[in-house]
Amino acid sequence: MASIAASSSSTFISSHKPNQAFNFKAVSLAVNGKSFQSLTLRSAPSRFRVRCAATPETVDKVCSIVRKQLALPETSEVTGESKFALLGADSLDTVEIVMGLEEEFGISVEEESAQTIATVQDAADLIEKLISKN
Protein backbone atom coordinates (compact mmCIF):
# COMPACT_ATOMS: atom_id res chain seq x y z
CA MET A 1 0.00 0.00 0.00
CA ALA A 2 2.75 2.43 0.81
CA SER A 3 4.32 2.45 -2.60
CA ILE A 4 6.51 5.35 -3.51
CA ALA A 5 7.84 6.35 -6.89
CA ALA A 6 11.59 6.68 -6.57
CA SER A 7 13.69 8.44 -9.13
CA SER A 8 17.30 8.59 -10.13
CA SER A 9 18.68 12.06 -10.38
CA SER A 10 21.57 11.15 -12.62
CA THR A 11 19.59 10.05 -15.68
CA PHE A 12 18.52 12.40 -18.41
CA ILE A 13 14.84 12.95 -18.98
CA SER A 14 14.56 10.72 -22.05
CA SER A 15 15.64 7.61 -20.19
CA HIS A 16 13.90 8.36 -16.94
CA LYS A 17 10.82 6.35 -16.01
CA PRO A 18 8.96 8.51 -13.55
CA ASN A 19 5.96 6.27 -13.07
CA GLN A 20 7.88 3.26 -11.90
CA ALA A 21 6.74 2.41 -8.39
CA PHE A 22 8.78 0.57 -5.83
CA ASN A 23 7.03 -1.30 -3.04
CA PHE A 24 8.95 -0.91 0.16
CA LYS A 25 8.38 -3.30 3.02
CA ALA A 26 10.79 -1.35 5.19
CA VAL A 27 9.59 0.35 8.33
CA SER A 28 10.57 3.82 7.29
CA LEU A 29 11.43 5.35 3.99
CA ALA A 30 14.06 8.00 3.51
CA VAL A 31 13.12 10.49 0.84
CA ASN A 32 15.36 13.50 0.33
CA GLY A 33 16.75 13.10 3.81
CA LYS A 34 13.40 13.06 5.62
CA SER A 35 11.92 9.86 6.97
CA PHE A 36 8.26 9.03 6.76
CA GLN A 37 6.45 6.43 8.79
CA SER A 38 4.54 4.11 6.52
CA LEU A 39 0.78 4.04 6.81
CA THR A 40 0.83 0.64 8.51
CA LEU A 41 2.71 1.96 11.52
CA ARG A 42 0.25 4.57 12.66
CA SER A 43 0.73 3.70 16.29
CA ALA A 44 4.45 4.44 16.25
CA PRO A 45 5.42 7.91 17.38
CA SER A 46 6.36 10.18 14.54
CA ARG A 47 8.55 13.23 14.74
CA PHE A 48 7.04 14.63 11.61
CA ARG A 49 3.31 14.19 12.07
CA VAL A 50 1.53 16.18 14.70
CA ARG A 51 -1.98 15.07 13.75
CA CYS A 52 -3.56 11.62 14.10
CA ALA A 53 -3.50 9.86 10.76
CA ALA A 54 -6.76 9.81 8.83
CA THR A 55 -8.64 6.67 7.81
CA PRO A 56 -7.86 5.01 4.51
CA GLU A 57 -11.39 5.91 3.36
CA THR A 58 -10.74 9.60 3.85
CA VAL A 59 -7.37 9.30 2.11
CA ASP A 60 -9.06 7.53 -0.81
CA LYS A 61 -11.70 10.23 -1.13
CA VAL A 62 -8.99 12.91 -1.15
CA CYS A 63 -7.05 10.97 -3.80
CA SER A 64 -10.13 10.81 -5.98
CA ILE A 65 -10.82 14.56 -5.65
CA VAL A 66 -7.18 15.31 -6.47
CA ARG A 67 -7.21 12.93 -9.41
CA LYS A 68 -10.33 14.59 -10.79
CA GLN A 69 -9.03 18.14 -10.33
CA LEU A 70 -5.69 17.42 -11.95
CA ALA A 71 -7.22 15.19 -14.65
CA LEU A 72 -4.70 12.48 -13.86
CA PRO A 73 -4.89 9.29 -15.90
CA GLU A 74 -6.00 6.13 -14.05
CA THR A 75 -2.50 4.76 -14.47
CA SER A 76 -1.05 7.67 -12.51
CA GLU A 77 -0.44 6.74 -8.90
CA VAL A 78 -1.91 8.93 -6.17
CA THR A 79 -1.42 7.87 -2.56
CA GLY A 80 -1.31 9.48 0.86
CA GLU A 81 2.33 10.36 0.35
CA SER A 82 1.70 12.12 -2.95
CA LYS A 83 2.75 15.76 -2.86
CA PHE A 84 0.40 18.17 -4.61
CA ALA A 85 3.27 20.18 -6.07
CA LEU A 86 4.87 17.10 -7.59
CA LEU A 87 1.57 16.04 -9.16
CA GLY A 88 1.57 19.33 -11.04
CA ALA A 89 -1.01 21.18 -8.95
CA ASP A 90 -0.62 24.93 -9.31
CA SER A 91 -2.12 27.44 -6.88
CA LEU A 92 -5.51 27.50 -8.60
CA ASP A 93 -5.64 23.68 -8.58
CA THR A 94 -4.77 23.60 -4.89
CA VAL A 95 -7.51 26.07 -4.01
CA GLU A 96 -10.01 24.15 -6.15
CA ILE A 97 -9.00 20.93 -4.42
CA VAL A 98 -9.51 22.54 -1.02
CA MET A 99 -12.92 23.78 -2.13
CA GLY A 100 -13.79 20.29 -3.37
CA LEU A 101 -12.77 18.87 0.00
CA GLU A 102 -14.86 21.44 1.86
CA GLU A 103 -17.91 20.44 -0.15
CA GLU A 104 -17.29 16.71 0.10
CA PHE A 105 -16.70 16.70 3.85
CA GLY A 106 -18.82 19.65 4.97
CA ILE A 107 -15.92 21.53 6.51
CA SER A 108 -14.37 24.96 6.23
CA VAL A 109 -10.62 25.25 5.69
CA GLU A 110 -8.96 28.53 6.67
CA GLU A 111 -6.60 29.88 4.03
CA GLU A 112 -3.87 29.96 6.65
CA SER A 113 -4.11 26.16 6.94
CA ALA A 114 -3.51 25.77 3.22
CA GLN A 115 0.19 26.29 3.86
CA THR A 116 0.33 23.16 6.03
CA ILE A 117 -1.08 20.87 3.34
CA ALA A 118 1.70 19.46 1.21
CA THR A 119 0.52 15.89 0.68
CA VAL A 120 -2.74 14.00 0.27
CA GLN A 121 -2.22 12.62 3.79
CA ASP A 122 -1.89 16.15 5.20
CA ALA A 123 -5.21 17.07 3.61
CA ALA A 124 -6.90 13.93 4.92
CA ASP A 125 -5.55 14.50 8.43
CA LEU A 126 -6.73 18.11 8.43
CA ILE A 127 -10.17 17.02 7.22
CA GLU A 128 -10.59 14.54 10.06
CA LYS A 129 -9.41 17.12 12.57
CA LEU A 130 -11.98 19.63 11.27
CA ILE A 131 -14.73 17.03 11.17
CA SER A 132 -14.08 16.07 14.77
CA LYS A 133 -14.36 19.72 15.74
CA ASN A 134 -17.81 20.13 14.12
Binding site: S9, I13, P18, E111
Partner: protein, 309 residues
Amino acid sequence: MLWHYCKLGLKMKMHCFTQKMFCTSSLSPLQLPSRMETHLWYVLPNEVKSQSLLSQYVDLLSPIEKDHVFSMRGDELQKGALLARALVRTTISRYQIHSRVSPSSLVFRKNIHGKPEVIWEQSDDWHPPSLHFNLSHTSSLIACGVTVGSPIGIDVEEKQRTTKNNILSFAKRYFSCEEVKVLSAISDPEVQRHEFIKLWTLKEAYVKALGIGFSGAPFNTFTIRVGAANSNPEGSAIVVVPLEKPTNLTTNWQFAQVELAGSHYAAICRQNDGLSGGAMEVIVRKTIPLVEEHHVTTIDPIVPVDDFS
Protein backbone atom coordinates in the same frame (compact mmCIF):
# COMPACT_ATOMS: atom_id res chain seq x y z
CA MET B 1 27.48 31.34 -29.64
CA LEU B 2 24.18 32.80 -28.75
CA TRP B 3 22.86 35.60 -30.93
CA HIS B 4 20.71 38.31 -29.48
CA TYR B 5 17.83 39.42 -31.68
CA CYS B 6 15.69 42.46 -31.26
CA LYS B 7 13.41 42.15 -34.25
CA LEU B 8 10.71 39.60 -34.90
CA GLY B 9 11.20 37.70 -38.10
CA LEU B 10 15.00 37.57 -37.98
CA LYS B 11 15.45 34.12 -36.67
CA MET B 12 18.69 32.18 -36.88
CA LYS B 13 19.15 29.23 -34.59
CA MET B 14 22.60 28.45 -33.38
CA HIS B 15 22.73 25.61 -30.96
CA CYS B 16 25.32 25.54 -28.27
CA PHE B 17 26.89 22.12 -28.23
CA THR B 18 29.36 22.39 -25.39
CA GLN B 19 29.76 18.95 -23.93
CA LYS B 20 31.00 19.19 -20.40
CA MET B 21 31.61 22.71 -19.27
CA PHE B 22 29.22 25.43 -20.11
CA CYS B 23 30.92 28.59 -21.38
CA THR B 24 29.47 31.73 -19.90
CA SER B 25 30.73 33.70 -22.86
CA SER B 26 28.17 31.98 -25.04
CA LEU B 27 25.38 33.66 -23.13
CA SER B 28 25.37 37.21 -24.39
CA PRO B 29 25.10 39.79 -21.65
CA LEU B 30 21.95 41.77 -20.97
CA GLN B 31 21.41 45.25 -19.73
CA LEU B 32 19.79 45.26 -16.29
CA PRO B 33 16.25 46.60 -16.32
CA SER B 34 16.15 50.27 -15.41
CA ARG B 35 14.24 51.02 -12.23
CA MET B 36 11.21 51.83 -14.36
CA GLU B 37 11.27 48.71 -16.51
CA THR B 38 10.00 45.24 -15.89
CA HIS B 39 11.43 42.43 -17.99
CA LEU B 40 9.21 39.47 -18.72
CA TRP B 41 10.74 36.35 -20.22
CA TYR B 42 8.81 33.33 -21.35
CA VAL B 43 9.45 29.91 -22.83
CA LEU B 44 7.01 27.53 -24.49
CA PRO B 45 7.83 23.94 -23.46
CA ASN B 46 6.53 22.45 -26.68
CA GLU B 47 9.15 24.43 -28.61
CA VAL B 48 11.94 22.74 -26.68
CA LYS B 49 12.37 19.27 -28.12
CA SER B 50 16.08 18.59 -28.30
CA GLN B 51 17.25 15.96 -25.81
CA SER B 52 20.78 17.34 -25.91
CA LEU B 53 19.46 20.78 -25.03
CA LEU B 54 17.44 19.38 -22.15
CA SER B 55 20.58 17.61 -20.96
CA GLN B 56 22.45 20.91 -21.00
CA TYR B 57 19.70 22.37 -18.85
CA VAL B 58 20.07 19.51 -16.35
CA ASP B 59 23.78 20.33 -16.10
CA LEU B 60 22.96 23.88 -14.97
CA LEU B 61 20.97 22.76 -11.95
CA SER B 62 22.00 22.32 -8.35
CA PRO B 63 21.66 18.81 -6.84
CA ILE B 64 18.54 19.87 -4.93
CA GLU B 65 16.96 21.27 -8.08
CA LYS B 66 17.75 18.07 -9.97
CA ASP B 67 16.10 16.02 -7.22
CA HIS B 68 13.05 18.22 -7.39
CA VAL B 69 12.80 18.06 -11.19
CA PHE B 70 13.06 14.28 -11.23
CA SER B 71 10.54 13.95 -8.41
CA MET B 72 7.84 15.49 -10.57
CA ARG B 73 5.28 12.87 -11.56
CA GLY B 74 5.46 12.55 -15.31
CA ASP B 75 7.71 13.52 -18.22
CA GLU B 76 5.87 16.71 -19.08
CA LEU B 77 5.92 17.94 -15.49
CA GLN B 78 9.62 17.13 -15.25
CA LYS B 79 10.32 19.03 -18.45
CA GLY B 80 8.34 22.01 -17.18
CA ALA B 81 10.19 22.04 -13.87
CA LEU B 82 13.51 21.74 -15.69
CA LEU B 83 12.70 24.58 -18.08
CA ALA B 84 11.68 26.81 -15.20
CA ARG B 85 15.04 26.39 -13.49
CA ALA B 86 16.94 26.72 -16.77
CA LEU B 87 15.00 29.89 -17.59
CA VAL B 88 15.70 31.58 -14.29
CA ARG B 89 19.36 30.56 -14.13
CA THR B 90 20.26 31.52 -17.67
CA THR B 91 18.31 34.76 -17.56
CA ILE B 92 19.64 36.07 -14.26
CA SER B 93 23.23 35.16 -15.03
CA ARG B 94 23.11 37.23 -18.21
CA TYR B 95 22.30 40.52 -16.56
CA GLN B 96 25.72 42.21 -16.51
CA ILE B 97 26.17 41.56 -12.90
CA HIS B 98 29.49 39.96 -12.21
CA SER B 99 32.07 38.22 -14.35
CA ARG B 100 32.04 35.20 -12.06
CA VAL B 101 28.33 34.54 -12.37
CA SER B 102 27.45 31.60 -14.61
CA PRO B 103 24.02 29.97 -14.77
CA SER B 104 25.14 27.05 -12.67
CA SER B 105 26.96 29.13 -10.07
CA LEU B 106 23.87 31.03 -8.93
CA VAL B 107 22.68 30.08 -5.47
CA PHE B 108 19.02 30.34 -4.54
CA ARG B 109 17.17 30.18 -1.26
CA LYS B 110 13.61 30.63 -0.12
CA ASN B 111 12.50 33.34 2.27
CA ILE B 112 10.51 32.35 5.36
CA HIS B 113 7.30 32.26 3.31
CA GLY B 114 8.82 30.14 0.59
CA LYS B 115 9.53 32.85 -1.99
CA PRO B 116 12.71 32.08 -3.94
CA GLU B 117 15.51 34.65 -4.14
CA VAL B 118 19.15 34.78 -5.24
CA ILE B 119 21.96 34.76 -2.72
CA TRP B 120 24.72 36.90 -4.13
CA GLU B 121 28.38 36.45 -3.32
CA GLN B 122 29.37 39.30 -1.05
CA SER B 123 32.77 40.89 -1.33
CA ASP B 124 34.39 44.16 -0.36
CA ASP B 125 34.68 45.49 -3.87
CA TRP B 126 31.27 44.48 -5.19
CA HIS B 127 27.75 45.25 -4.13
CA PRO B 128 25.11 43.03 -5.62
CA PRO B 129 22.36 44.71 -7.61
CA SER B 130 18.92 44.87 -6.16
CA LEU B 131 17.67 42.40 -8.73
CA HIS B 132 14.38 40.66 -8.09
CA PHE B 133 12.69 37.89 -10.00
CA ASN B 134 9.57 35.77 -9.88
CA LEU B 135 8.55 32.67 -11.81
CA SER B 136 5.21 31.32 -12.84
CA HIS B 137 4.27 28.33 -14.87
CA THR B 138 1.49 26.55 -16.59
CA SER B 139 1.95 23.32 -18.51
CA SER B 140 2.27 25.25 -21.74
CA LEU B 141 4.19 28.41 -20.80
CA ILE B 142 6.80 29.32 -18.22
CA ALA B 143 7.51 32.95 -17.43
CA CYS B 144 10.06 34.86 -15.38
CA GLY B 145 9.73 38.50 -14.45
CA VAL B 146 12.79 40.58 -13.51
CA THR B 147 13.06 43.99 -11.89
CA VAL B 148 15.67 46.15 -10.24
CA GLY B 149 14.85 47.86 -7.00
CA SER B 150 11.39 46.40 -6.49
CA PRO B 151 9.97 43.08 -5.42
CA ILE B 152 7.98 41.47 -8.20
CA GLY B 153 5.24 38.90 -8.45
CA ILE B 154 3.93 37.36 -11.67
CA ASP B 155 1.28 34.82 -12.49
CA VAL B 156 0.35 33.22 -15.79
CA GLU B 157 -2.71 31.18 -16.70
CA GLU B 158 -3.97 29.66 -19.92
CA LYS B 159 -6.77 31.72 -21.41
CA GLN B 160 -8.66 28.51 -21.99
CA ARG B 161 -8.34 27.37 -18.38
CA THR B 162 -11.59 26.10 -16.95
CA THR B 163 -12.50 25.60 -13.33
CA LYS B 164 -14.04 22.43 -11.89
CA ASN B 165 -16.15 24.56 -9.60
CA ASN B 166 -18.73 27.07 -10.75
CA ILE B 167 -16.99 30.44 -11.15
CA LEU B 168 -19.34 32.45 -8.97
CA SER B 169 -19.34 29.77 -6.26
CA PHE B 170 -15.57 29.85 -6.30
CA ALA B 171 -15.48 33.65 -6.26
CA LYS B 172 -17.99 33.79 -3.39
CA ARG B 173 -15.83 31.44 -1.39
CA TYR B 174 -12.45 33.06 -2.07
CA PHE B 175 -12.76 36.56 -3.54
CA SER B 176 -13.96 39.82 -2.03
CA CYS B 177 -17.59 40.99 -2.20
CA GLU B 178 -16.75 43.73 -4.66
CA GLU B 179 -15.00 41.28 -6.96
CA VAL B 180 -17.96 38.88 -6.78
CA LYS B 181 -20.26 41.78 -7.75
CA VAL B 182 -18.08 42.63 -10.75
CA LEU B 183 -18.00 39.02 -11.95
CA SER B 184 -21.72 38.50 -11.32
CA ALA B 185 -22.51 41.49 -13.52
CA ILE B 186 -21.01 39.76 -16.54
CA SER B 187 -23.76 38.03 -18.42
CA ASP B 188 -21.72 36.13 -21.01
CA PRO B 189 -20.24 33.01 -19.33
CA GLU B 190 -17.18 32.98 -21.57
CA VAL B 191 -16.38 36.63 -20.86
CA GLN B 192 -17.01 35.93 -17.19
CA ARG B 193 -14.57 33.02 -17.26
CA HIS B 194 -11.89 35.15 -18.93
CA GLU B 195 -12.36 37.97 -16.43
CA PHE B 196 -12.19 35.46 -13.58
CA ILE B 197 -8.88 34.10 -14.87
CA LYS B 198 -7.46 37.60 -15.26
CA LEU B 199 -8.56 38.55 -11.77
CA TRP B 200 -7.04 35.37 -10.36
CA THR B 201 -3.69 36.14 -11.99
CA LEU B 202 -3.73 39.71 -10.62
CA LYS B 203 -4.44 38.51 -7.09
CA GLU B 204 -1.79 35.82 -7.31
CA ALA B 205 0.77 38.29 -8.69
CA TYR B 206 0.07 40.60 -5.75
CA VAL B 207 0.53 37.99 -3.01
CA LYS B 208 3.63 36.67 -4.77
CA ALA B 209 5.05 40.20 -4.95
CA LEU B 210 4.39 40.61 -1.23
CA GLY B 211 6.22 37.34 -0.77
CA ILE B 212 3.73 36.02 1.77
CA GLY B 213 1.67 33.76 -0.48
CA PHE B 214 -1.96 32.77 -0.45
CA SER B 215 -1.94 31.81 3.22
CA GLY B 216 -0.45 35.14 4.28
CA ALA B 217 -2.92 37.17 2.27
CA PRO B 218 -6.24 35.33 1.91
CA PHE B 219 -7.87 36.50 -1.27
CA ASN B 220 -10.98 37.82 0.45
CA THR B 221 -8.95 40.28 2.51
CA PHE B 222 -8.26 42.54 -0.46
CA THR B 223 -9.95 43.71 -3.64
CA ILE B 224 -8.21 44.23 -6.94
CA ARG B 225 -10.06 47.06 -8.55
CA VAL B 226 -9.76 47.28 -12.30
CA GLY B 227 -10.91 50.66 -13.52
CA ALA B 228 -11.29 51.99 -17.03
CA ALA B 229 -8.09 53.49 -18.40
CA ASN B 230 -9.33 57.04 -18.32
CA SER B 231 -10.98 56.97 -14.90
CA ASN B 232 -7.80 57.60 -12.96
CA PRO B 233 -5.82 60.77 -13.70
CA GLU B 234 -2.61 59.00 -12.68
CA GLY B 235 -3.18 56.62 -15.57
CA SER B 236 -3.02 53.56 -13.31
CA ALA B 237 -6.09 51.46 -13.93
CA ILE B 238 -5.51 48.63 -11.46
CA VAL B 239 -5.24 49.14 -7.73
CA VAL B 240 -5.27 46.94 -4.64
CA VAL B 241 -7.62 47.79 -1.79
CA PRO B 242 -7.06 46.00 1.53
CA LEU B 243 -10.32 45.30 3.32
CA GLU B 244 -9.32 44.72 6.90
CA LYS B 245 -8.04 47.15 9.49
CA PRO B 246 -5.37 46.88 10.67
CA THR B 247 -3.75 45.14 7.78
CA ASN B 248 -0.34 43.85 6.83
CA LEU B 249 -1.23 44.45 3.18
CA THR B 250 0.47 47.41 1.52
CA THR B 251 -0.95 49.37 -1.39
CA ASN B 252 2.03 51.00 -3.10
CA TRP B 253 1.95 48.47 -5.91
CA GLN B 254 1.34 48.77 -9.60
CA PHE B 255 -0.08 46.13 -11.91
CA ALA B 256 0.05 45.22 -15.55
CA GLN B 257 -1.69 42.58 -17.57
CA VAL B 258 -0.46 41.22 -20.86
CA GLU B 259 -1.38 38.44 -23.21
CA LEU B 260 1.45 36.10 -24.09
CA ALA B 261 1.69 33.96 -27.22
CA GLY B 262 -1.99 34.58 -27.85
CA SER B 263 -2.75 31.84 -25.36
CA HIS B 264 -2.00 33.08 -21.87
CA TYR B 265 -2.85 35.89 -19.51
CA ALA B 266 0.04 37.21 -17.46
CA ALA B 267 -0.26 39.56 -14.50
CA ILE B 268 2.69 41.49 -13.10
CA CYS B 269 2.84 43.29 -9.79
CA ARG B 270 5.71 45.50 -8.66
CA GLN B 271 6.16 48.43 -6.35
CA ASN B 272 4.89 51.79 -7.42
CA ASP B 273 7.69 54.28 -6.97
CA GLY B 274 5.45 57.16 -7.96
CA LEU B 275 7.81 58.20 -10.74
CA SER B 276 6.61 56.29 -13.76
CA GLY B 277 3.18 57.88 -14.00
CA GLY B 278 1.36 54.68 -13.16
CA ALA B 279 1.86 52.76 -16.38
CA MET B 280 4.31 49.89 -16.10
CA GLU B 281 6.90 49.60 -18.85
CA VAL B 282 7.09 45.90 -19.64
CA ILE B 283 9.66 44.47 -22.02
CA VAL B 284 8.65 41.01 -23.13
CA ARG B 285 11.05 38.48 -24.59
CA LYS B 286 10.21 35.02 -25.77
CA THR B 287 13.14 32.67 -25.38
CA ILE B 288 14.60 29.20 -25.63
CA PRO B 289 17.33 29.25 -22.96
CA LEU B 290 20.84 28.93 -24.41
CA VAL B 291 19.49 29.12 -27.93
CA GLU B 292 17.56 32.19 -28.90
CA GLU B 293 15.30 34.99 -27.87
CA HIS B 294 12.92 37.43 -29.53
CA HIS B 295 11.94 40.79 -28.21
CA VAL B 296 8.18 40.68 -28.54
CA THR B 297 7.22 44.09 -29.83
CA THR B 298 3.58 43.46 -30.39
CA ILE B 299 2.37 42.48 -26.93
CA ASP B 300 -1.22 43.30 -26.28
CA PRO B 301 -1.64 45.10 -23.01
CA ILE B 302 -5.05 44.19 -21.75
CA VAL B 303 -7.02 47.40 -21.62
CA PRO B 304 -9.69 47.26 -18.93
CA VAL B 305 -13.20 48.00 -20.11
CA ASP B 306 -15.97 49.63 -18.19
CA ASP B 307 -18.92 47.65 -19.31
CA PHE B 308 -19.08 43.94 -19.91
CA SER B 309 -22.74 43.55 -20.75
